[in-house]
Amino acid sequence: MSKQAQHWEKTRGLLMMTLAIWFVFSIGIFLFGAEMESVTGPFGYPLTYWFTCQGSLGIFVILIFWFANRQEKIDEEFGFSEREDD
């Protein structure tokens, strides 16, 4: 397999993982909104309420930075990262 194909396979793997986490916190947990309601979440807010006003939003921020770092590592591994003078 060519270097490029390997790079793309790893990139696709990272995409799938990122989208899986995204799916859980944007869609998955809200299938159980009513069930999570009685649980007390961080800072004492009802858990469902906390996810909608802080939890999911904050997780998305962290997820994007994590994704960006992992993708950079993949690019470096195969020598596809940009030169500084690009």
């Binding site: 490029q4 790079h7 793309w8 990139t11 990272l14 995409l15 990122t18 989208l19 995204w22 916190f25 944007s26 869609i27 809200f30 299938l31 159980f32 909104g33 009513a34 309601e37 800072f43 004492g44 807010y45 009802p46 469902t48 309420y49 996810f51 909608t52 006003c53 802080q54 999911s56 939003l57 904050g58 998305f60 921020v61 997820l63 994007i64 930075f65 994704f67 960006a68 993708q71 950079e72 690019d75 020598g79 596809f80 990262s81 940009e82 030169r83 690009d86």
Partner: protein, 604 residues
């Protein structure tokens, strides 16, 4: 100042700017103590900030195509994040979001999740690849990846429909704020707003818009956060509201139980002024079905990843790596405001409905409430209303009505903050609406000037002529938007949500599959864009005219239907027609790796 090592000096320049703005707020506060009228303070806030944006817009003037279209591709990660956040957070986010949460609770929170979750799709599926492509506009990518003028033209049409739906709402918002702050009639205020918007973008294009948007972000975030923290402290709710309002949220739940949600008769509601609403839904409890919540969130997420004025902000970063990081920063800066909106809604609601607080009005006598200063002010502004439906002389929860905008605009006054804060909030709302309007008008004008005029109509046009055409279009589109805004057809938020649905119906799959599916070809993309947009629009028209809809897809989520049609037609048509040429497939391979030259040259 904008030339030479301006980029290296950015933190210093905007540091001084922020300090200057804070000093200005303090001067206004002192002025208020010395007897400056509230009207003068309002005018100063709006006029001063708009003048600063105009100066930045003037200093960023340019005659180079890559500076005009993509700010010379040298906007650093963090600053591009701020600019995107301002670009993104519209007048609706600023003025109406807390109100939406206040009235609709959980069902509305789907928008918060959707408008942030969409950035994960932007970062992972699109932004870095479109940056590598090196396009000036979104149709530029579609036109080059799929080839041919028809696909380019289709992308221009989808972009124009979605962005134009959105921009009228923004010009409307600038007009509303300008008319209140400057005390002039709305029909004229709309054009004052428009001129302010054009001052930022006309001379400098994307470069001017970028540096004004950073300045606008700083104003809008200070204007949003300062009152939230101040009110929370003043009420004794906690010095850091985001982590400390659990008791207040629980208390609202208690009060809801105590008062109950009494349903008003239609005859009673007929007396309530248009646009005002009562509290009829639980504040924090789940009040929507999973599908209602998820479908709205999903539509907003896919719409986010298809809106061209957001995507084109990532064309301005120095590298592919920077584009990815920049998406993270964008969402971080958006998160600062979005996570504060529910807190503001909580503080606002509790201060109004809790009888044990001095500001609480529920349970007081109607005559007493009608005598309160701020009630009279906001009643006059048509944003508050009480009526004694049951005739017992006491105000009940179901007898109190408020406009959605009042949560942001009136809460500082209700909590007893000085007027200077209300002036600051007006400047923040203006900044939010202006920055989004600028991004949108520029997106439309650039697509028409670059893709329609230069690439399709007159490919031999010289740069100078292209940039003149771009500016003329900017003004024409701005005036068209303002004219429609002056007619006041749709509420601010309704048309914003439609824009997301239009964008995802026509553009989501053609963009994503352009990178992630090599087999996608021209015929498929054209079918996907055309059928997606047509079927989405048809669904909207059908539901608006009394159609029952299906699968619980409403007029707010019609993009789910449109994009499904788009996906199916794009895949089917691609597979029954021949695969893309070897050159196109090689181009897709190159887009997928960050290193090497961009597909389109620096100047094209």
């Amino acid at each position: 100042m904008i030339k030479g090592n301006f980029i290296d000096n950015l933190p210093k320049v905007y540091g001084i700017y922020t300090g200057g703005f804070i000093a200005f707020i303090i001067i206004m506060a002192i002025g208020e103590q010395m007897g400056m009228t509230s009207k003068a303070i309002g005018i100063c806030f709006v006029a001063f900030t708009v003048a600063i944006y105009a100066i930045i817009g003037y200093m960023s003037r340019t005659m180079a195509a890559d500076a005009y279209y993509v700010a010379g591709r040298q906007v650093p990660t963090v600053f591009n994040g701020m600019a995107t956040a301002a670009d993104w957070m519209s007048g609706a986010s600023f003025v109406a979001m807390a109100g939406g949460i206040y009235f609709k609770g959980y069902g509305y929170m789907a928008l918060l999740v959707g408008w942030t979750g969409g950035y994960v799709l932007v970062a992972s599926l699109l932004a870095p690849y479109l940056r590598k492509f090196g396009c000036y506009t979104v149709p530029d990518f579609i036109g080059t990846r799929y080839g041919g003028n028809v696909s380019r033209l289709m992308a221009v049409i989808v972009l124009t429909v979605a962005s134009f739906t959105y921009v009228t709402a923004q010009i409307n918002a600038t007009g509303t704020i300008a008319s209140v702050a400057l005390d002039i009639p709305f029909q004229y205020a709309v054009y004052v707003g428009l001129v302010s918007i054009l001052l930022c973008s006309m001379l400098g294009g994307m470069r001017g818009v970028t540096w004004t948007q950073v300045a606008q972000y700083i104003v809008l975030i200070i204007a949003y956060l300062l009152p939230v923290f101040w009110i929370s402290n003043k009420m004794g709710a906690g010095f850091f509201p985001h982590f400390m309002l659990a008791d207040e949220v629980a208390r609202i739940g208690e009060l809801e139980q105590q008062f109950g949600f009494v349903k008003n008769s239609a005859a009673d509601l007929a007396n309530v002024p248009k646009g005002l609403a009562g509290i009829t839904k639980a504040h924090s409890a789940v009040n929507a079905t999973p599908w209602a919540f998820i479908s709205l969130a999903l539509a907003m997420m896919m719409g986010t990843a298809s809106l061209p004025h957001v995507m084109m902000r990532y064309f301005t970063t120095p590298s592919v790596k920077a584009a990815r990081k920049s998406v993270g920063w964008s969402l971080f800066f958006i998160f600062l405001l979005y996570s504060s909106a529910p807190m503001l809604a909580t503080l606002s609601k509790l201060s109004l409905i809790d009888p044990t607080l001095s500001t609480g009005i529920i349970g007081k006598s109607i005559a007493e409430v009608q005598a309160i200063d701020w009630y009279q002010n906001w009643n006059q502004a048509n944003l508050m209303f009480v009526s004694d439906f049951n005739g017992n002389g006491t105000l009940e929860l179901n007898e109190f009505f408020m406009g959605g905008k009042a949560v942001v605009l009136a809460t500082p006054e209700i909590a007893g903050l000085p007027y200077v804060i209300s002036g600051l909030v007006a400047a923040g709302g203006m900044a939010a609406a202006m920055s989004t309007a600028d991004g949108l008008i520029l997106a439309i004008a650039n697509a028409l000037s670059h893709d329609l005029y230069y690439k399709i109509i007159d490919p031999k046009a010289e740069t100078a002529k292209r940039l003149v055409v771009a500016r003329v279009l900017l003004v024409v589109i701005g005036f068209a938007g303002a004219t429609i805004a002056a007619m006041e057809i749709q509420g601010i938020l309704g048309s914003v949500i439609w824009a997301f649905d239009f964008a995802m119906s026509g553009l989501f799959f053609p963009l994503v599959l352009g990178v992630w599916w090599k087999r996608a070809n021209k015929e498929g993309a054209i079918a996907g864009m055309a059928l997606g947009l047509i079927s989405g629009t048809a669904y909207l028209v059908w539901v608006r005219n009394g159609g029952s809809g299906f699968l619980g897809i409403t007029q707010l989520t019609f993009g789910i239907f449109g994009s499904a049609v788009s996906l199916v037609s794009m895949v089917v048509v691609s597979l029954i027609t021949s695969e893309p040429s070897a050159a196109t497939q090689k181009m897709v391979d190159e887009v997928r790796v960050p290193s090497g030259k961009t597909i389109l040259g620096k100047q094209h």
